[in-house]
Symmetry: C3
Subunit: 335 residues, 3 copies
């Protein structure tokens, strides 16, 4: 494995191998496996879990990390080809990324969606233009339409919870004060399909996920034996559900039009997860969320603090699976 | 020891043990004592000494640190229970702290006083609500009313200076352009009382420290054989003083009312330490300050640059005593 | 070697020794040479290469770094002697630097020119006032008029390219949206003269480098057998050139007067390097730039992406030579 950019590009066996390695590193720590190795972490956008779990995971394997946050102690970076750079950005990724990569043994990059052009973001134009510039092993720390570290951590969490396919997995839109990117819903949808679940996307009108993402999920479900459907009928979706995975995202109908999107979103402020959402679900239905979560806006305190919630376990698994990714990318190379 | 939150909760023997360990680690370095251990540092407020000395101390023992600063590369964190999170904070400490703690072997948290409700800050409502969320060893890096790392470093400095109880220790208010928190005066007052000194709090009218802090100091002095008094008479306070410890703080009378506080403070801009403050003191009277200090506003250049000043020694001792704290919290645990 | 502040203060043999050590550490890595050592990095100004290459280089030698950025998580620092500190700065370098140095084994400091008084900046008043406060080994990470790490990296790049003195080395002014400091042109000019090149400074009227810098370069050229001249005639400068080193800088004629400087600079927006600049140069003429560079403002895409460009190699060499500097400063000392 040279790059970890999209979980969907891995065969089932490769995913299971990574998860087995993650468990092995928990059972038998390898505190010197990455001694002398350096991980560069390039954060165009904020983070708590990714920032701390990548550094902690790297340290637990004996390596060190270097964090670079453009605009915060570092120059702002332009990424568009051919740009006439007379604005805020003092440096172009065409210089910044190869240079940073040349100091490190692997790079992780977080770059949220540009948010103005849906087709461009669905094509991962920005992330892939940066990925092409990196000759070292590369990890996607969240791009426009993907968050493979989160997806792999959630897969591990589902394994630990013994949620066996084909269990009903409901990915539900929930309310948020701002239109958030599609990266986590996209990664969750495709992970659940790839894992062979009965995936139901529950969302109000106007919040259907873009068709290319749904099509990708259906293709993965065909291979895995799972299924993918969508609805705005909460009771129907939750009937017999074994997992409710809540996530906030902006309407693809008004992509790049904040005002129109906000007007539509305001009509759905009642989409906050409360205990009564689980009325028709299996009694042991789990509640998942990738975090950060806005309490009492997206999800009620009682759900997050209740027995259904596994959000902390998901977050802890971020470090656990990332250690496997780092190990796989770096441990067998020579310095 | 599982937590280092308030020096006053330690018995005298425990304090002396920590100080002896600090000295031992200076005499016989243990560069691998914390190999593989990870310290999470959560800074809600700015820092120079704490930020750098915790990282350097951890590194000198073989460990690594991860720094998280909410609002600077990381989401802003809400801490109030039951908050409806539709404001600036994207995440709640109820998720953020357990998650960060789960990646690390110990956590340090800096969270200054909220500054609006004195009773709440005296109760350490905010810090303790976060401490309850952390199952790992925890270090207070400055809370609303405490700064135990500074207090322990100052104790060591006094030992090195051979200031033997019951020496007269004057804690004096000094001027500052803004109303600063009560954490350091509170920690210094109680440390000096716990160490058995003759503690005199010197401050202008309106700047008396809150009674709960004074009462706590008196209780500690009773055990140690020291004493605690307060005055606004500089000559009386300084007569025979062996230490002058200067500190800026806001008036508890106008807690949370910046305008009224500023009006009162403006009347005391002459409370800047100059050499003539020491006229009635012992000739070898030392000058202490926790830093940062505003030169020629709180303290004159001549004092800070003169022979009395031990401010750099105090600051260096921050790292020395923190290495003992980290060693005590982490060295004997299994990974 | 106790300090690395100005390459020009080193004898030729000392420079060659450092470069040989840099190569040796590439050929035979010493991953434990600086085990247990801590490098403090004090950044008053932004950075990408310096920030990441210092940390990565330190890690590759087994050490760790602590990064402090005043105003970003750390107090703003005052540096002027005698200042009455009632403004934004909460701490003075007279405390901040000795304290930080006391936690670390070496310090690196980046502090750009103050930019208001040319004579003061030429004297390195700010940097040297801070250097005096540091008793530990010290590295200049870019001061008002110097950038010795960049200069040493460029020397190595020229060696690798087999650019043998006396080759013609053209240092050319190029356009930029803002007036940039003189540090890199000053360091490049003197490095090239010290290396024995035929140095030609090419710049429009009003952008001549200050006479003290030119005089310093001429003195170095006398020792090395090189030469130094200046012109605004591009064709004459580039005739037979083996290296074009492009750099942006503000007019010394309008130092500290942004408006007048901008008016002058606007007349030279056509000073952007394009392939036709190389018409009269040697066919293998190399293109150098220290980065960051504004594409299609200072230098055209075609040049940066073309075969002449060695900007990434220069940047990678930053880490390589800095590892030699760190090794020389720290490896033979006892802890």
């Amino acid at each position: 494995m040279k790059r970890f950019i999209d979980l969907a590009t891995l065969q089932r066996d490769e995913v299971l191998d990574l998860l087995a390695l993650a468990q092995r590193l928990q059972d038998k720590p390898e505190p010197a496996a990455l001694a002398g190795r350096i991980l560069g972490l390039l954060f165009f956008d904020p983070s708590l879990r990714t920032l701390s779990s990548m550094q902690a995971g790297m340290a637990r394997l004996g390596g060190q990390s270097v964090v670079i946050s453009p605009g915060q102690g570092t120059w702002r970076l332009e990424w568009r080809d051919g740009a006439v750079m007379n604005g805020n950005a003092a440096e172009h990724v065409r210089e910044g990324i190869p240079v940073l990569a040349s100091y490190c043994d692997a790079l992780g990059i977080r770059a949220f969606a540009d948010g103005s052009n849906l087709a461009e973001d669905l094509s991962e134009t920005r992330f892939m233009s940066m990925a092409e510039l990196c000759e070292k092993p590369l990890i996607n720390l969240e791009s426009a339409m993907n968050h493979p570290c989160q997806a792999l951590a959630d897969w591990r969490t589902l394994d630990q919870l013994q949620v066996a396919p084909p269990a009903r997995f409901v990915l539900s839109w929930v309310h948020h004060p701002r239109a958030l990117p599609l990266a986590v819903p996209a990664a969750t949808l495709t992970m659940a399909a790839q894992r062979g679940m009965e995936v139901v996307v529950l969302r109000p009108e106007g919040y259907a996920l873009p068709e290319p993402l749904m099509a990708k999920a259906r293709r993965l479900a065909e291979v895995s034996g799972g299924s993918v459907s969508e609805t705005d009928d909460r009771a129907a979706a939750m009937a017999g559900a074994q997992v409710l995975y809540a996530k906030e995202w902006g309407s693809p109908l008004h992509y790049g039009d904040a005002e129109a999107e906000a007007a539509l979103r305001a009509r759905h402020s009642n989409w906050m997860v409360t205990e009564d959402w689980f009325a028709g679900a299996r009694s042991d239905c789990h509640f998942m969320h990738c975090l950060p979560v806005r309490r009492n806006v997206a999800v009620a305190d009682a759900v997050l603090d209740g027995a259904r919630s596994v959000v902390r376990q998901e977050a802890h698994n971020r470090m656990v699976v990332q250690m496997a990714i780092l190990h796989r990318l770096l441990a067998r190379r020579t310095l």
